[in-house]
Symmetry: D2
Subunit: 321 residues, 4 copies
């Protein structure tokens, strides 16, 4: 059994990680750290876990684990690792943005299995991708791999409210968000950095604009991204490229039907569809932001890092409705 | 033109009051006070008012008005009136709970027109009823008037999130509240006091329990109350009593069809239906919590206090969907 | 009083028209035709109208009115006018797509006041614009008027479920649509025809692609469109152009804040915002699809055609929440 | 491996059953019958199953299975079993109402494990309980077992839209149901029959009224029931009774915190809480209507009937949000 510890256990990604790990056949969660919740039963905070775990939030950090998931806020992972000496035997999976950029200052591997599964499998430290970043990359990697990103890319992605975290704000107030739609950080979202990095890894020299409009949706889970760009091949060639790219990836599927967000909600799947209109290829890419976009992918990475079957503990029943 | 001022202008009830008053043909809003928002354009906070008002939040209290609406939180109206000497020429309508109980310590009239329209018309100070209290009383007044409340009353009422106010909390977080249901203050809701007071006013000596279960709903506007009690008459007798009681009240309607919440959302209406099952009379009563349950009723009271037609400015287009 | 008749009274647009007209100070609805609902009280179908109208659906067509609103489905207006001889004294406002294209086969005027108010004021027959078409045109007209549409336009617009009409289908099933997102008719929506027609009217020769992705949203009312295109001027120049264009139009407002859909829901407003990112101008345009996108605009057109103040009966309280 | 077949594969309960069974370690689904969908891939209809099954709907009924799940509409199970000779070796689990009443005309066992697990374990045919019936019984069984139901019971239960099935109707239209609430079949719901039967089984002679108000909620999954009745013991005695009753039942939990619907959504759990107010015991009972209220409980029954661990394949990750 892999012994797992969680730092920053009070947030949404930690809760979602626990929902997966309590039933994962190869993992035992040995402790969940939270300075704000120390001493409280985990299922008193993540209330749906009632009956599934007796864990109590630990107020002190411990390192007698095989893997450590860092679920604190952005910026806090770096602070944590600077403040603590984590033994080299402990593998680390960081869910924050802190180590996603491969800028030479650290040795974290970018943890998108559909980009570099083998590298992840050999890694001791993995930077788990962002939710928008995962969704958008799943829509573009097969084009980049063949060097077919030849013009700017137009991206529009609607996200659920859980992407905004557990802290109540004006933008997550039910009275405000219900039946509402708004845009934020248009053309400037921070995930563009990691997306560009991956695309250039597959298609060196790629430098076209990624015009990205993130949208706040009035639902809790999921990201629905529509992307299009100039593409000179046929639709069938596009399908062949995408199907070939994802053939050996168990979670990402290519569909020839019109997709809908709830096909993937509460699963670790990615789903990609293609349409050709004039010289444009329309790609729709959908994920669950908390699973394939966060904690599910973190467990997928853990499975790879420990030599388990990639899907272990991740064949989740979707909610469908 | 009636000059109106608003104290506590940043909350939901003040915003809703403004939505009504900016188009009310007999009213001019001369100022909106908010210590937290002083200097800000009213339409920068209540954003849907863009294009409808140039008002700016005032940081200082003024009394050169004909009517003052108190929209601050519960407890704050009393504090405000103790701290300020409001001229006797200024009529006051208080939307808080502070003066709803007629306990002999103040001279506010309880402002439910369906209970005591004439008394309100002569009043200088009105305590606007609570939202649950309005909805439940509309369902019970015709029985109480005839002395027909002869047993305990079972009440279940589901409320929209705007009832919980503008401040973001765990219970108004979209990720929590969306598609969720929960009960709070079962059997102990503070509105039971004013409900009991009105029922005893019509049916002296009424002392049966009001078993009231308030429920948090996953919608923004409206209260849907189902009530039942033992009733020995026929359904037709019940209809006659209710229809007779509400005949001259322009906003409250009795329906012989199965009602649904959205029939009244974004209107000042109350809607009441009746069914008879065995010896029980089932009464469904619905309102919009921000309108008939708060700011709409406040304007209805103002109309009465100033001798205007009761419906002036309140024939609102429902949202229906 | 203008006497108004409605053909096709059972659908959403007819219901919304009635919600407006029953309180319109210059209009009397003299009959509502519906073959499927003949004999039924209007408020038994459009249930929120309880207490507001005693109208009964008529099974026979009558023409003793000043204006006739055609609210039947697409294709049915043409069939109706071919089957019936409407007297020349009756003005006609058609809410279907049938006469929006100015193809020389009819004498309907395209009824977008922000495009051609004076022409509408003189018209006897008006083709009311589509909902997406209205929203998108409000976002682009000021650019087209100055000849500044110099490249393809990228359009993404999310619509509420009422856009899909009253007939229950798989795509309007609550269990399916709640918390779901999907795309339909990408790059091929039928409203592109009327949009292109208007843009070419202001900017002759405009022929760049309008890349339009319509999205089904999980809310009932409203359209939220984000549009961008290459724009060489400054943001301030853009604001000046838009503000100047809409200065005399009472319903369409330009905002310098980040807009949100619920600012316009249940009103006849259009709201447009601008941002500049690199060489792109981002335009967000929002309306209520049933009001400015359908029945509200129909009444606005009627007001113009009969010489009433444009806003008569249309200063609606927004739902805000 | 248990070979399982499904009759009536196009509906919601069949879809949910498939979502569970495709990952159940002890089951192989050998065929899914649907006359309307014959020849179509199962994942083309239950679209979230993409990548999880290659099953194709069968147009012909086959009986080479160990267990047959009947998922057709109410009334159709009886018709099916009258029309087909199912071999005695095939165990049957019926999800309709057809065999829930133990009226001496059939040999189905009522399949509520919390009522009679051992009897189910020995059964060849099981009638799976109704969703409301399951939720309400979980709230009352511990009282009935001790003979403590001494007065009428007041029941209010809000259900998600999936309870109304896949067929689109006026009451499942998104534009109607979103943010709406309504009551149906008050005091007369058909599930009262099976509830009464179980209560009398534990508390012979029980004959007090069950005043049940079913409510249509504006969410897709779950039932939230609040129940109260006169109870003379202390709250602590009540907790002891409930905790003792459910001690050995792995899915039903008693909580001392205020429960919320989403604690159980997308799980097979039941969750029960207790409060004492005056002489009333308030019981809140919640389940997922499609899981513990239908397909999850069907699999739980199957596990019992085949001697598997009761929780096999049913430790589902909740959706939580």
């Amino acid at each position: 059994m892999i012994k797992a510890g969680i730092i920053g256990g009070a947030g949404y990604t930690a809760g979602e990680l626990l929902r997966i790990l309590v039933h994962h056949p190869g993992v035992e969660v040995t402790y969940v750290h939270s300075s704000s919740q120390a001493g409280k039963a985990v299922s008193d905070l993540h209330k749906d876990l009632i009956g599934e775990t007796d864990l109590v939030f630990a107020g002190e950090v411990r390192f007698e684990t095989d893997v450590l998931f860092l679920c604190s806020g952005h910026g806090e992972s770096k602070a944590f690792l600077e403040a603590h000496e984590v033994p080299g035997t402990v593998k680390i999976i960081d869910l924050s943005t802190d180590y996603r950029e491969e800028d030479g200052t650290h040795d974290f591997v970018y943890g998108l299995p559909e980009l570099q599964r083998e590298k992840i499998a050999r890694a001791g430290k993995v930077a788990n991708p962002g939710c928008f970043a995962t969704c958008i990359q799943l829509g573009l990697l097969p084009l980049a791999e063949k060097g077919l990103l030849k013009d700017e890319v137009h991206i529009h992605a609607i996200t659920g409210s859980t992407g905004a975290g557990v802290k109540p704000t004006a933008f997550t107030h039910f009275s405000w968000r219900d039946s509402n739609i708004s845009v934020y950080k248009a053309f400037n979202h921070q995930h563009l950095t990691e997306i560009g990095q991956s695309l250039r890894q597959l298609q060196p020299g790629f430098s076209h604009p990624l015009n990205f409009i993130p949208v706040r949706g009035d639902f809790t889970r999921g990201i629905f991204a529509s992307l299009y760009t100039r593409f000179e091949g046929s639709l069938e060639e596009a399908f062949e490229g995408y199907e070939s790219y994802y053939r050996d990836h168990p979670f990402t599927h290519v569909t020839r039907q019109n997709p809908e967000l709830k096909q993937v909600v509460n699963t670790n799947k990615g789903l990609v569809s293609l349409e050709k209109h004039g010289d444009k290829l329309l790609i729709i890419s959908i994920i669950d932001n908390l699973l394939k976009g966060a904690s599910g992918q973190a467990v997928q990475n853990m499975n790879l890092m420990f030599g388990l079957e990639e899907t272990t503990g991740l064949l989740l029943k979707g909610s469908a409705f």
